[in-house]
């Protein structure tokens, strides 16, 4: 089959690879009908997250049709079922899964020894996301093996297009959880840094969850326009001071809730000297992430407020103002998304017409064009916000 394969820094190729095979009785094979490139794939593209190996298949946002089911998954899945695959692989049986903390499932990381050493304790297995999270082949491919498939799936009905449900596997629940863990009150201002796909979903989620005002921060005009379309007030950080403007919009008190939908690769600009400092340290290997957004959020957030971090961080950061964080009594909530905790409810909201996540798709191409689209998406060319691939 064909698949998008990681070969090294900025080197992703559309290769011919062997077809995945069932290994365990709980596995299933899915024929992928749609998949997408995620912002966090770009961190792998840049080799900023350790433990990728040449030959790893990329992709953790995918859906398709079940074509083969292992003996122990048969009660829950059958050939022909239409499923979205969540990016977190879950067993559904361990203590963490029972609590709904699916992204820290204790069973599914097959490189547990390595992950225990690096993280202290292993987290769930993830598709297409380095050997620290199990090294499971991803879904930017024609076929995907889904481990623990009896639990790791979201069934979707026929008659609803792929584009409307595909994002149930990652970015929609990710934006949703980012907003939910802010515990939004009708009096709250929610500020969201980054208007990429997760930021866009977080904006819609905060609007649905009754925020008084939603403020979106970016510098790309097309992304700010899409944020505004979703009901956000926008701040272009190339043109105005984020801190001043946020204070202005909140009567000088700062936003109650802040969401970081940017993560480890904050935009670098001489007008924000800390980003240049981080970039230089990153090149020398003295820091892995550029935490400009964290610094700004901690500074501007209202005391006793909540900081929610769906953005991906990979390793070590520098110059985090712990003094501000501690004295202001802020709450930080973060984590990979507990996808299956939210998807039944979100699927219903899509079916009822409360939201249609397909608004974010700007490019639909074949798998062969995938490598080039990684570049277009990374360089934000052609107003690219979200790429869907059709294997």
């Amino acid at each position: 089959m064909r698949a998008l394969v990681w070969h090294g820094k900025e080197d992703i190729r559309c290769d011919t690879v062997t077809d995945p095979e069932i290994e365990q009785p709980r596995d299933a094979i899915v024929k992928v009908t749609s998949c997408a490139i995620c912002g966090s794939d770009l961190h792998l593209f840049h080799n900023f997250i350790p433990a990728m190996l040449p030959g790893d298949v990329m992709g953790h946002e995918m859906m398709g049709e079940v074509v083969e089911v292992g003996s122990e998954a048969r009660g829950k899945l059958k050939k022909g079922d239409r499923v979205v695959v969540p990016f977190t692989i879950i067993c559904g049986e361990c203590d963490q899964c029972k609590r709904g903390n699916f992204s820290v499932c204790q069973t599914t990381n097959r490189k547990k020894d390595l992950a225990d050493k690096v993280f202290g304790h292993a987290t769930a297995g993830l598709f297409g996301y380095t050997h620290l999270t199990g090294g499971y082949p991803g879904g930017q491919a024609e076929y995907l093996r889904v481990p623990f498939a009896d639990a790791t799936h979201i069934k979707v009905p026929d008659g609803i297009p792929d584009e409307k449900v595909l994002f149930l596997g990652d970015i929609f629940p990710t934006g949703w959880q980012a907003a939910v863990q802010c515990d939004i009150q009708p009096t709250d201002t929610v500020a969201i840094w980054g208007c990429g796909p997760v930021g866009q979903m977080a904006i819609r989620s905060a609007v649905l969850l009754s925020a008084k005002q939603v403020i979106a921060i970016d510098h790309l005009p097309e992304r700010l326009e899409m944020a505004e379309a979703g009901g956000a007030i926008t701040i272009n950080f190339d043109e105005e001071s984020v801190v001043e403007r946020l204070n202005e919009l909140t009567g000088g008190e700062g936003p109650e809730k802040c969401i970081d939908a940017v993560g480890m690769e904050a935009h670098v600009s001489p007008s924000m000297p800390d980003t240049v400092y981080d970039r230089a340290k990153q090149m020398l290997g003295a820091e892995s992430d550029r935490p400009h957004i964290l610094r700004e959020m901690i500074y501007v957030c209202r005391p006793a407020g909540v900081i929610s971090i769906p953005g991906v961080y990979g390793g070590l950061v520098d110059k985090i103002p712990m003094g501000q964080l501690m004295n202001k009594g802020l709450t930080i909530r973060t984590g990979q998304t507990h996808v299956n905790r939210w998807t039944d409810d979100l699927l219903r909201r899509i079916e009822e017409g409360q939201i249609d996540p397909s608004f974010v798709i700007t490019h639909t191409v074949s798998l062969e064009d995938g490598p080039e689209m990684y570049k277009v998406f990374r360089d934000k060319q052609d107003s690219c916000i979200k790429v869907v691939l059709k294997p």
Binding site: R2, A3, E10, D11, I12, R13, D15, T16, V17, P20, E23, D27, H46, L53, P54, G55, V57, G100, R110, H131, G135, P137, V180, Q181, C182, D183, T187, R204, V207, L208, L209, S210, L220, P221, E225, A229, G230, G231, E256, V268, R279, M283, V306, G329, T331, D345, R349, Q354, I355, D356, F359, V360, T362, E372, K375, R378, D379, K380, Q381, S383
Partner: protein
Amino acid sequence: MAYYISNIARSKGDPKVLHSGPSSLGAADRLAKALGWYSIGLGIAELVAPERFTRALGMEGKEGLVRAYGVRELGHGIVSLSPDKHLGLWSRVAGDGLDIATLMTAMRHDNPKRNNVGIALAAVLGVTLLDIIGAQGVTARHSRPRGRPRSYRNRTGFPQGVQASRGAAKDFQVPPDMRAAPTLAAVSDRAPQERARSH
């Protein structure tokens, strides 16, 4: 091949590469990579054995300068191999200018190694040409073209419109483990202790 080694980390049912197809790296990116490694190699040589350069060029006594240029080369290399490679290559072009100016000072009539200096100059000029081609190439390949972006004014995501969607999910119950209230909930007349109890 690297795949055979990395395949050790894979299980038997995992896909394995049979043959490679088109890559996200363009010709300019490959040139940038080659020039980046060239910078690293030259930088290390200048740092470790500066006397070899000074002796061959009749510039004895300038070892400190060559070492400093070695550090500079390493900088060019690191940036050229990073995602900001256009900066790395343009910095290389500037560095080439400095190299040429320095070599010109050694083109004196009384320098017995004048011929070597000429060869070095020709080599630097050749590399400069590659650097300019590479720098222009990666800049063109990775920059955002000017002009109007596409319009996403109608991409609300809300089939019923934004206004009707504000608060549409108020049926949603925030799970207890994700609550932050009442720390910043609207202020009521009740004492905070009382609110904490009723929560």
